[in-house]
């Protein structure tokens, strides 16, 4: 095991081979800065760039109830000026040095990433430090970003995917932050002030809720002081609003929104399985069999391949901090929406009742084990994965253990978990033209 030694300069950890086929040579090192900031590092000099990915716990779930969109707007403002640099000067520096910096507000955390050329790394590190520690939130930049957010929100009002997704979340979590749109509403965005953004970054951008991963042309010894330089001036402790645990509502309901578009958009979801639950990995396999990636899931076969009802049909697990979901969707011809939803429901029921076959289990395990390595094909993807593993608290050896966890799953496991995951019912939203019989009932 690795010993984690805070405040000791660097290299607390023995290196761990990424046992993936795809980074066989690479090692994950745990680096602790002189100031006690931890990062996971894959040092690799074959391409002269450095990718940093990080996350602060506390995302849009920290938005004030009457002001959804605050964290989202803060993320959008992070490259609009910091320290002595206004938006123009800040972006000029980013561009002249080909620094790519981005922030993204998610439900449970703020994610950020930086990509720099090795030869321009100091510029990149300084700009990231400035953005994190002294964002300006200038009024003129805020008004520009606000106009962009409102424009996107106006567009969403007639987009069937957005209408469906918003309705789904609002119905599933009526009283909870998860039920509010992460990018705000036409009512809330005009209300957001500089103080709201400041309040968010002040409470959330803190060292105790920070996870960092670095991949690329930098070694552990160099990285230690860099971590202090970028993140060292942040407050020690975050002041997060506690987020109450959430249980999904309205399971078993089907909601319809009329919209005059040729193709109906279907969203569905039910209660999932938490990331830390021992059943998560079996559930991951069950989902793969039902509607996961690759061109071989049951939904893909039944809905697309055999019947040509849709171009896209999928399901996925969405474990969040205070709830867990199982989600999916498709888009289908207006006159086939009911048939398609019925087919999806019957496939979910069939898998819940009879479970996967032995052959399906073996093929899925084989796919999931083999494909894991292919997720690691760019520095940014590796860094992002290493942050996620830290957020999920899976341990620095997780990548090594992961395929063993998949392998250990038995047919009895997936049968039991299929029932647990899929037997609870789903909430379905459909946005599109009413079908004939419905239209007739409505007198249309």
């Amino acid at each position: 095991m690795m010993s984690f030694a805070p405040r000791v300069f660097l290299l607390a950890a023995a290196s761990l081979a990424l046992a993936l086929p795809a980074q066989a040579a690479a090692k994950i090192e745990r680096v602790v800065s002189p100031g006690g900031i931890e990062a996971w590092l894959v040092s690799d000099s074959s391409v002269p760039l450095i990718a940093i990915n990080f996350a602060f716990r506390g995302g849009t779930n920290q938005d004030p109830a009457e002001k959804p969109g605050a964290a989202y707007m803060a993320a959008a403002m992070m490259d609009e000026g910091a320290g002595d640099l206004d938006a123009k000067a800040f972006q000029g520096r980013l561009e002249r040095n080909a620094v790519e910096m981005s922030f993204s507000a998610q439900r449970d955390q703020m994610r950020g990433s930086l990509k720099v050329l090795r030869d321009r790394k100091d510029e990149g590190f300084d700009l990231l430090r400035l953005a994190l520690t002294s964002p300006r939130f200038d009024q003129d930049a805020m008004e520009r970003v606000r106009a962009q957010m409102l424009s996107a929100l106006r567009r969403e009002t007639t987009n069937p995917s957005d209408i469906g997704s918003r309705l789904w979340w609002r119905t599933a979590f009526p009283e909870h932050p998860y039920g509010r749109p992460t990018n705000g509403t036409l009512e809330s965005v005009p209300l957001l002030t500089r103080d709201d953004l400041r309040d968010y970054t002040r409470r959330v951008f803190a060292r105790d809720r920070l996870k960092i991963a670095v991949v690329g042309d930098i070694d552990a010894k160099t990285l230690g002081p860099v971590l202090d330089r970028i993140f060292g001036a942040l407050p020690t402790k975050a002041e997060l609003q506690p987020v109450p645990s959430a249980k999904m509502d309205a399971v078993g309901k089907r909601l319809f929104v009329p919209l005059d578009v040729p193709q109906a958009v279907v969203n569905f979801g039910g209660i999932g399985i938490p990331r830390k639950d021992p059943d998560f990995i079996p559930a991951y396999i069950v989902n793969h069999i039902l509607g996961g990636g690759s061109f071989s899931s049951r939904l893909y076969r039944e809905v697309r391949e055999k019947r040509g009802l849709a171009y896209s049909v999928y399901s996925y697990l969405l474990p969040l901090d205070v709830t867990a979901l199982f989600m999916g969707g498709t888009q289908t011809r207006a006159d086939k929406a009911d048939e398609t939803v019925g087919l999806i429901e019957s496939e979910i029921r069939r898998l819940a009742e009879s479970g996967p076959s032995d052959e399906e289990l073996e093929k899925s395990k084989s796919y999931l084990k083999g494909s894991y390595a292919l997720n690691f094909d760019t520095s940014t993807k590796i860094a992002s994965l290493l942050v996620q593993i830290q957020l999920d608290d899976l341990g620095i050896d997780y990548i090594d253990r992961r395929n063993g966890l998949i392998e250990a799953v038995t047919l009895a496991d997936v049968k039991r978990v299929a029932k647990r995951l899929l037997d609870g019912g789903i909430l379905v939203t459909v946005v599109g033209r009413p079908q004939q019989d419905k239209a007739a009932k409505q007198g249309g």
């Binding site: 795809a22 391409v47 996925y316 292919l374």
Partner: protein, 482 residues
């Protein structure tokens, strides 16, 4: 050869929805797929720049006796390979009345052969945990798998088999046609901005088949059949019309040996005529099109100019257009953004793009979303002023340097992703470029001068060579019949 960052492709499954029509909108499928990938994790593709000479991989290029071109791009970081087969045929090669057949055939290529019936190829890829997909553009059609390197030969055997061995029955063709019609609904029919994009492109090309949507016109897609697909297949799918690109942990000697053992055995089944498409006459009229749809909650405009591609341009012209697009509309410090969003805020967002990789004359685009109290006509005029200013007064050294840095950085960042590199070479070689032109692209970009950029604006941003599309809300209430 510009990086194909804005490939206009249609994928068999949405692994990304390319900018068919509205380059500034992000597709929902991207978001979704990230979440799907996420029980595991998210991530976007690669980036950055270094001096051109540095670290560029040693790319090999050779031809088999049957005419198949092979490109090998070494990437030894991980024991993984990207195996891509590119055919020099796309939507612009379709016979009249059969629009969409190139893309439909791409879907049907997964239906099996006599040797490997009913999706066995995909099942094997899935079982070994590989990734696969396919894509179609106006100029090329491609298929790829990403697998661990020990599976490379198996992929080559499967791909060689379906180069000439496809078997189709109505039982699989007809449901797949419905899948494609739903794809058309998702990409276009449900999306007013995408519908406008099709109209602008159709109006821009008076004579050249680039005016047709890659996915096809719906009434023609509805009639495509098994015989159409097989006829197109037999005409174009032959080793002498294909480029194999392999990027990853494999050497050129090994690829040569494996390629001879697999693809080398596929006979030439067709002689492919030179790709001569009907060309554009002189364009003489400033054109506008307006698409009104009751669902337009946010009006916007998009304009396309007919301009030379990297293949049709004189030396340096395409590189100058690439820099011009970057200076005009790349990011929040671009000319258009500073003038129209920041200084005199008539727009909420603006941008510019250039689709450099194409066999024939291509498109340069600008777009914008007006502030709420600004009309599309006012925004249109304001954009004209910015473009006219660049044409008259040129660009600054600082702007030039920043744009060059960005484009060259993109090449370095691309080296972080073998799939991106493979796509870059594959799209170039099927769009009329050579390997050498790809590898020297950063050097040519570095040589573009401020005069070149001003001249590009003067010569090519001529409104008579353009179509401007307005997306507006339909106000007349439509009778609803369903």
């Amino acid at each position: 050869m510009p990086l194909p960052v804005r490939m206009t492709c249609l994928y068999r499954n949405c692994d990304f929805l390319a900018a068919a029509a509205v380059p500034h909108e992000i597709s929902d499928m991207n978001k979704l797929n990230r979440m799907i990938a996420a029980g595991v994790v998210a991530g976007v593709a690669a980036v950055l720049a270094m001096p051109p000479a540095q670290a560029a991989p040693e790319v090999s290029h050779f031809k088999l006796a049957n005419g198949l071109e092979v490109v090998v791009i070494p990437d030894r970081r991980a024991p993984v390979v990207t195996h891509m087969m590119w055919y020099k045929v796309g939507a612009a090669d379709e016979p009249p009345g059969k629009s969409g057949i190139a893309h439909f055939l791409e879907h049907l290529m997964f239906k099996g052969t006599a040797k490997n019936p009913s999706g066995r190829f995909s099942q094997v890829v899935a079982t070994i945990g590989g990734q696969e997909n396919a894509f179609t553009s106006s100029d090329y059609t491609g298929y790829y798998q990403r697998v661990t390197k020990d599976k490379l030969k198996e992929m080559m055997e499967f791909e060689a088999d379906r180069m000439t061995g496809l078997v189709l029955t109505d039982e699989v063709v007809l449901p797949e046609r419905n899948v494609v019609l739903e794809e058309q609904n998702s990409r276009v029919a449900n999306n007013p901005g995408a519908k406008l994009g099709e109209e602008v492109q159709a109006a821009l090309y008076l004579n050249h088949p680039y005016g047709r949507p890659i996915i096809g016109w719906r009434p023609e897609i509805e009639k495509l059949n098994r015989a159409d697909a097989l006829a197109f297949y037999k005409q174009y799918y032959t080793p002498n019309n294909a480029v194999l690109v392999i990027a990853g942990d494999v050497g050129v000697d090994e690829v040569k040996k494996l390629a001879e053992e697999t693809y080398g055995k596929v006979p030439r089944v067709a002689e492919v005529p030179e790709r001569v498409r009907p060309q554009e006459p002189e364009q003489r009229a400033v054109r506008t099109v307006t698409l009104a749809d009751p669902r337009v909650a946010q009006p916007n405009l998009q304009r396309s100019y007919l301009v030379p591609s990297s293949t049709t341009a004189k030396p340096g012209q395409s590189e100058a257009l690439e820099i011009l697009a970057q200076i005009l509309g790349g990011g929040n410090n671009s000319r258009m953004y500073r003038k129209l969003v920041v200084e005199n805020p008539v727009a909420i967002s603006v941008g510019a793009w250039y689709q450099g990789m194409a066999l024939d004359d291509t498109r340069f685009g600008v777009y914008g979303t007006p502030q709420q109290n600004v009309t599309l006509q006012q925004l249109d005029a304001a954009i004209d002023q910015v473009l006219a200013d660049v044409a008259a007064n040129g660009v600054t050294d600082d702007e030039l340097e920043t744009a060059r840095t960005k484009l060259i950085a993109d090449v370095v960042y691309a080296q972080d992703s073998q799939a991106t590199l493979a796509r870059w070479y594959g799209s170039a070689l099927t769009s009329g470029a050579t390997v050498e032109e790809v590898t020297t692209w950063p050097d040519r970009v570095a040589k573009v001068t401020a005069d070149d950029v001003r001249n590009a604006a003067r010569t090519w941003l001529d409104k008579k060579r353009s179509v401007t599309g307005f997306l507006v809300k339909e106000t007349t209430p439509q009778e609803k019949r369903s």
